[in-house]
C-alpha cells in the first residue's frame, strides 16, 4: 500500500476535463460489468434458470430422470384440482400459515421490544434465543423426535404434573400431528426474529419512548403505538421470510418426522412437491405443485408489502 501511495504519477490533466469524464464513465461501466459478470452469470445459470425451468416442467408429464418428457399443457394443474391429497396439503398449509404467521411474529416482536431495552441478562437471553437459528433443520427435527417420543420429554412432563390423560403419541395421532409439526416453528422462529427485531429497534433513541412515557403512555402503548410502526417495514420483511419458510422450508420437518402421515394428516404443499418428485417420480406434476406454492408465496409477499409499506407514504 505504501508504494501505491508514493507513486509519482499525477492525476488527470485539467485541459480536457469533459472528455476525461466521458471516458471515465465508459470505463466505469466496463469495469462494473467486468466485476459483476462472474457473479451474475453464476446466479443466472444456477438460480434464475432453474426457477424458469420449474414453470416449464410444470407443463410436462415426466415420470423419472431418464424417462422422456411429454408436453401436456395445463393438464397437471387440472389434475391437481381433483387430487384429494393436494387439497389436504393445501388446507394443512393454510392452517400452518394462519397459526404460525401471527403465532411466531407477534410474540417475536414483543420479546424483541423488551430485549431492545437491554434488560438485565440481555446477553444471555440473546444467546439462548438465537441458538435454534444456529442449529440445522435436521438437528432440530431430531431434537423434536425426543420431545414427541411416547416416553419423550413432552409426555414425561405431562405425567409429572398429573396430566396423564393428555399424553399422546404426538406424531402418530391424526389430531395432533399437524400441530406438532407447526409447533417446531415456535421453537426456532420466535427467538430468531426477536433478536432481529431487537437489532432493528436498537437504532431508535430511547428519549423517544421516554417522552411518550412522560405523556402518560404505558409500556404496552409505547410498544404497539410507537415502536411497532417505527419498524413496520422491517416487520414486513421478516414476515416475508417466515412466509417463505412455512411454504417451503418447513417441509423438511415433515420429511424428517412424518412423511406426511399418518395417512395424509400432516401433508403440506412443500412436502407434497417433494414427495411427488422424489418418492413417486412424478417430476412434472411435482413442479405444478411448486408453481402453486410459488404463486401463493408471491401473493402473500405482495399482501405483506401492501400491509406494512403504508407508513412510508406518511
Amino acid at each position: 500500500m505504501q508504494s501505491i501511495l508514493r507513486s509519482p504519477h499525477s492525476g488527470p490533466r485539467k485541459t480536457d476535463a469533459v472528455s476525461y469524464h466521458q471516458r471515465k464513465r465508459a470505463r466505469d461501466r466496463r469495469a462494473f460489468l467486468l466485476f459483476v459478470a462472474p457473479a451474475l452469470i453464476a446466479f443466472a445459470i444456477l438460480m434464475l434458470w432453474p426457477l424458469l425451468n420449474m414453470f416449464y416442467l410444470s407443463l410436462v408429464k415426466w415420470q423419472g430422470l431418464v424417462k422422456p418428457k411429454t408436453f401436456v399443457g395445463l393438464a397437471n394443474f387440472s389434475k391437481l384440482l381433483g387430487d384429494r391429497h393436494f387439497l389436504r396439503a393445501l388446507m394443512n398449509t393454510g392452517i400452518h400459515l394462519l397459526v404460525s404467521m401471527p403465532g411466531v411474529m407477534l410474540p417475536a416482536f414483543m420479546l424483541g421490544f423488551f430485549m431492545s431495552q437491554r434488560p438485565r441478562g440481555f446477553r444471555l437471553l440473546r444467546t439462548i434465543f438465537f441458538s435454534p437459528a444456529m442449529i440445522s433443520v435436521t438437528a432440530i427435527a431430531m431434537l423434536f423426535v425426543g420431545v414427541y417420543l411416547p416416553d419423550g420429554i413432552l409426555n414425561t412432563f405431562l405425567r409429572a404434573v398429573g396430566l396423564d390423560s393428555w399424553t399422546r403419541i404426538w406424531l402418530g395421532n391424526r389430531s395432533t400431528v399437524l400441530g406438532a409439526i407447526i409447533a417446531i416453528d415456535f421453537f426456532g422462529g420466535i427467538g430468531y426474529y426477536a433478536v432481529l427485531f431487537s437489532a432493528a429497534l436498537s437504532s431508535i433513541p430511547s428519549e423517544l419512548y421516554e417522552s411518550a412515557q412522560l405523556d402518560g403512555a404505558g409500556q404496552w402503548t409505547v410498544m404497539w403505538r410507537m415502536a411497532f410502526p417505527l419498524i413496520l417495514d422491517f416487520f414486513g420483511v421478516a414476515s416475508m421470510l417466515h412466509l417463505i419458510w412455512i411454504l417451503m422450508g418447513a417441509a423438511q420437518n415433515v420429511l424428517l418426522l412424518t412423511r406426511g402421515g399418518p395417512g395424509d394428516y400432516s401433508l403440506t404443499l412443500g412436502y407434497y412437491m417433494y414427495e411427488q418428485a422424489f418418492v413417486n417420480n412424478q417430476f412434472g406434476y411435482s413442479q405444478a405443485v411448486g408453481v402453486v406454492i410459488f404463486v401463493i408465496g408471491v401473493l402473500g409477499t405482495l399482501l405483506i408489502r401492501w400491509a406494512t409499506h403504508r407508513n412510508y407514504q406518511q
Binding site: 507513486s7 434458470w49 425451468n53 434465543f129 420429554i153 420483511v237
Partner: protein, 286 residues
C-alpha cells in the same frame, strides 16, 4: 420513602414494573422451551435408552461414549464430517471469489447499472431455493456432476450470492471514498485498490460473510440429500439416517446431533455479534 421504593412505586403506577415482570416471565418460559430440548439431547448422548426413558432429565451417571461409537458405526459420521468440511470450504472460497468483486462494483462504481444488478440479486431473497430442487437436480445431471460433492460446491455459492453481496457491499460503503481516490490519484489501478486497500479494510464484513455462510453450508440438508450419492453423504444427511424407520435409538441419535451441532455452535458463541449484525443487514437490504 427510600429512593428505591419511590421508583418501584412509580413503576407500578405507570405499569412499567408490571410490564417488566410479565416480559421477564415470558422470556424465561421461552428460554426454558429452547434450553430443555437442547439439555435433553446433551445428556441423552451419554446415556443408554433405559436411562433416557427412565429418568429423562437426570444427568448421566457416567461419561459413556458408547453412543458416539454406535453413531459412527451406523452412519460413518467421520467421513460425513470430512465431506461437509470439504463442501463448506469449497463453497466459501467460490462465494467470496464471486461476491467480493460484485459487491465492490455495486458499492464503489457509480453507474446506473448498479440499481438493475442489485434488483436482480435481490430476487434471490424472495425465491426459496427449495422450490428449485427438481430443476437444480436436472441441471446438475446435465452438467454431469450429479451425485458428486462438486454439485453442492457449485450450487451453494450461487444460492448465497445475494446475501453475501449485500453484506459485503454494506461494509464496503463504509470505507471513505477519499482513501480510494487518493490511491487512484497516485496511479494505483482497480485491482491494486481492491486487493491492497478495500479487501483489508472490509475485513470485518468478509469475516461476517464467511461465518454466516459457514453456518448455512454446514447446516444445509435438502440439496445435500438430493444431489449426493450415499457414499458422499454430508453431516446433515448422515444425521437424518440415524433416526431409524421404526425403532429410535435415541441415545445414538442424540450423540449424532451433538457432533453435528458442535462446530457451528462454538463458532456462534465466539462470533455472536457479527452473526446477528450480518443477518440483520442481510434481511434489511433484502
Amino acid at each position: 420513602m427510600s429512593a428505591f421504593a419511590e421508583r418501584f412505586g412509580r413503576g407500578w403506577r405507570d405499569g412499567r414494573t408490571g410490564f417488566r415482570a410479565s416480559a421477564y416471565f415470558l422470556c424465561i418460559v421461552y428460554a426454558l422451551a429452547v434450553t430443555i430440548p437442547l439439555y435433553y439431547v446433551l445428556i441423552s448422548a451419554f446415556k443408554n435408552n433405559a436411562q433416557i426413558f427412565g429418568m429423562p432429565l437426570a444427568l448421566p451417571t457416567s461419561l459413556d461414549f458408547k453412543n458416539f461409537a454406535t453413531a459412527e458405526a451406523s452412519a460413518h459420521l467421520l467421513r460425513a464430517t470430512l465431506i461437509s468440511l470439504g463442501v463448506t470450504a469449497g463453497s466459501e472460497v467460490l462465494v467470496l471469489l464471486l461476491a467480493f468483486p460484485a459487491a465492490y462494483a455495486i458499492a464503489r462504481i457509480r453507474t446506473r447499472l448498479a440499481v438493475v444488478v442489485e434488483g436482480i440479486f435481490s430476487l434471490g431473497f424472495l425465491v426459496p431455493a427449495f422450490a428449485m430442487l427438481v430443476p437444480v437436480l436436472l441441471l446438475m445431471a446435465q452438467i454431469g456432476v450429479l451425485y458428486d460433492p462438486l454439485s453442492l460446491i457449485l450450487f451453494y455459492p450461487a444460492w448465497r450470492l445475494p446475501l453475501s453481496i449485500v453484506v459485503l457491499a454494506s461494509y464496503l460503503r463504509t470505507v471513505p471514498r477519499e482513501i480510494e481516490e487518493s490511491a487512484e490519484m497516485d496511479g494505483a489501478n482497480r485491482l491494486q485498490i481492491i486487493l491492497h486497500l478495500l479487501f483489508p479494510l472490509a475485513r470485518p464484513g468478509v469475516i461476517t460473510v464467511v461465518i454466516i455462510n459457514f453456518i448455512t453450508f454446514w447446516n444445509e440438508f435438502l440439496f445435500a440429500l438430493i444431489l449426493l450419492s450415499q457414499q458422499n453423504r454430508t453431516m446433515q444427511v448422515a444425521l437424518s439416517i440415524l433416526k431409524g424407520e421404526r425403532l429410535v435409538d435415541y441415545g445414538m441419535l442424540a450423540a449424532g446431533v451433538l457432533i453435528s451441532i458442535l462446530p457451528v455452535y462454538i463458532m456462534f458463541l465466539i462470533f455472536q455479534e457479527q452473526i446477528v449484525e450480518g443477518l440483520y443487514v442481510g434481511a434489511v437490504k433484502g
